[in-house]
Amino acid sequence: MTRVCVFLEAPGGKLKKSAAEMMGAAQGLGGDGTIVEGIDAVLIGQGVTTLADDAAALGADRVLVADADAFAHFTVDGHLKAMLKAVAASSPNVVIFPASTTGRDLAPALAAATQSAILTDLVELKLTDGDVCAQKPVYAGKAMATVRGSTDCVVVTLRPNVFEPAAAEAGKSAATETIDAGVTQDDIRTVVKEVLAKASEKLDLTEADIIVSGGRGLKGPENWHLVENLAEAVGGVCGASRAVVDAGWRPHEEQVGQTGKTVSPKLYIAIAISGAIQHLAGMRTSKCIVAINTDSEAPIFKVADYGIVGDAFEVVPVLTEELAKLRT
């Protein structure tokens, strides 16, 4: 029998889109003769108590809530203390985190504190003979590894946008328990003084269903309306190649690739991007890839499901118009 503990991320008073995917992955652990005995959802934050019902709707058997002012900002010191309390209450065999910037910090901190194996950035997760078995891309996606953790408890982070989300069933209820971790500002050694350049309210790239990215072939930042308008027309968010970020045309948060973000949207549109191996590393697991490039030999066409050989300045406005029509 297996107990699963799932960390649900809820910045700004709302469950993140990844929360349903993490719950979906937890539920999917059953089968193969293994019985999932219970799923505990963990909420840590300021004002997250009200989200317990949402976690229950996603199928949690029990919701463990640590709600305090000290959790207003994510810090390893603060959140780890609460997470350790939650894990003590849950005694899980598997602890699931999203591979977001928060999950990527909290999961290894928990694994180190509990001497547990950690498997990161997974695209597949299952139980085999009691071991946690998983797949993860390595070498920037140039190979896929099948890995297994064999400590009593295994900590995992799951790549967003890959796992089937749990369907929310309104009205489902779960026991809610308050975790009093007793965390105060004094426990937090890394003090967040302010947040500069707040990330836009738009969906984070790693969670977006549709991404429209632009490359150096667009010649300059003054032409970015092409990318933005297309993104707007399809309800997507904007990404960029490193060449464009290095040139200062676009902020670093938008960079897709080995040294930027790894994304797996439903649709990735690459405009005037050559498709260097380091760029492909960040987007090759997208479900559908479209490329628009003047050079029919550009490597991006090797991974693109659909390509148009042509001048972005000519093709993109027409594409934008056609897609906008479709949505109205």
């Binding site: 900002h73 994510f74 390893v76 780890l80 910037t101 928060t102 990527r104 910090d105 290894p108 901190a109 694994a111 180190a112 504190a113 547990s116 194996a117 950690i118 498997l119 990161t120 078995c133 993860k136 390595v138 070498y139 920037a140 996606g141 140039k142 190979a143 590894a145 099948t146 890995v147 297994r148 953790g149 064999s150 400590t151 050694r189 890394t190 003090v191 003084k193 947040v195 500069l196 350049a197 707040k198 549709i210 670093h252 080995q258 439903k266 649709l267 191996i277 380091q278 559908c288 890839i289 479209v290 029919s296 499901d305 659909y306 148009i308 050989v309 027409v318 594409l319 056609e322 897609l323």
Partner: protein, 250 residues
């Protein structure tokens, strides 16, 4: 100020990765190795801090015997000394790597402990935070700016929230992000000096086997290469394919 940087030897980011016959490792032929790019940024930042504030820079590397080359590279850039935890083989998960690194760092003078945000072969982004936790040091990840004054560090962390300005009293650990520093090329003089700098070699503890690598395989091939057409005349067909075949426009 005493600074320790953990650096890993990895295949160059441009290397072609081919899975070897054992389906557990990669072909080494023709693969160049380098200091993992984020770790190289960490080494550079450590050198800049030392130049500004005085102190020492020690690099620690857990890796196979051949990693001596990358360690010498860091010494040639200007690090003062190195510890090579020699890996005789066996699979190591992040927990075992972190335990081994924490084991040699413990007890050494260290005001600042630097890591890359992730290694570009294992891509875990885990070891830095784990070592910090094992040593009970405060840790900030994804650091793109780092200033030190009066025993405190002020850093910029680039997270999904935005750019967070964070203060912490030293000693502390950080994992570094691109943009923090531009690694220098070693000069001839540095390369000559590197040969005489202290390089301590220690046998790494045998891995405990908490994480197994069962299989390595090439990524699922994409059936790419389908050119819908040329120029704006192809747009109509593309839109049709996206909505009817790929069904991604809902």
């Amino acid at each position: 100020m005493d600074i320790i940087v953990c650096m890993k030897r990895v295949p160059d980011s441009a290397a072609k990765i081919t899975v070897a016959g054992d389906a557990k490792s990669i072909e080494q032929d023709g693969v160049d190795h380098v200091i993992s790019p984020y770790d190289e940024i960490a080494v550079e930042k450590a050198l800049q801090l030392k130049e500004a504030h005085g102190g020492t820079v020690t690099v620690v590397c857990l890796g196979v015997a051949a990693a001596t080359k990358e360690i010498r590279q860091a010494l040639a850039m200007g690090a003062d000394q190195a510890v090579h935890l020699k890996d005789a083989g066996g699979n190591r998960g992040p927990l075992e790597i972190a335990q081994a690194l924490a084991g040699v760092i413990k007890g050494r003078a260290c005001d600042l402990l630097l890591f890359g945000k992730q290694s570009i072969d294992a891509d875990n982004g885990a070891v830095g935070v784990m070592v910090a936790r094992l040593l009970d040091l405060p840790v900030v990840s994804l650091v793109a700016q780092l200033d030190v004054a009066d025993g405190r560090a002020t850093v910029h962390r680039q997270s999904e929230v935005g750019t967070e300005v964070i203060e912490v009293t030293l000693p502390a650990a950080f994992t570094v992000q691109r943009g923090l520093a531009e690694p220098r090329y070693p000069k001839i003089k540095g390369i000559m000096q590197a040969k005489k700098k202290p390089l301590e070699e220690i046998d790494a503890p045998a891995p405990a086997g908490t994480m197994a690598l069962d299989k390595l395989e090439p990524p699922a091939a994409r059936e790419g290469g389908r050119i819908v057409g040329e120029g704006k005349d192809a747009v109509g067909e593309l839109v049709r394919l996206l909505s009817q075949e790929a069904k991604v426009l809902s």
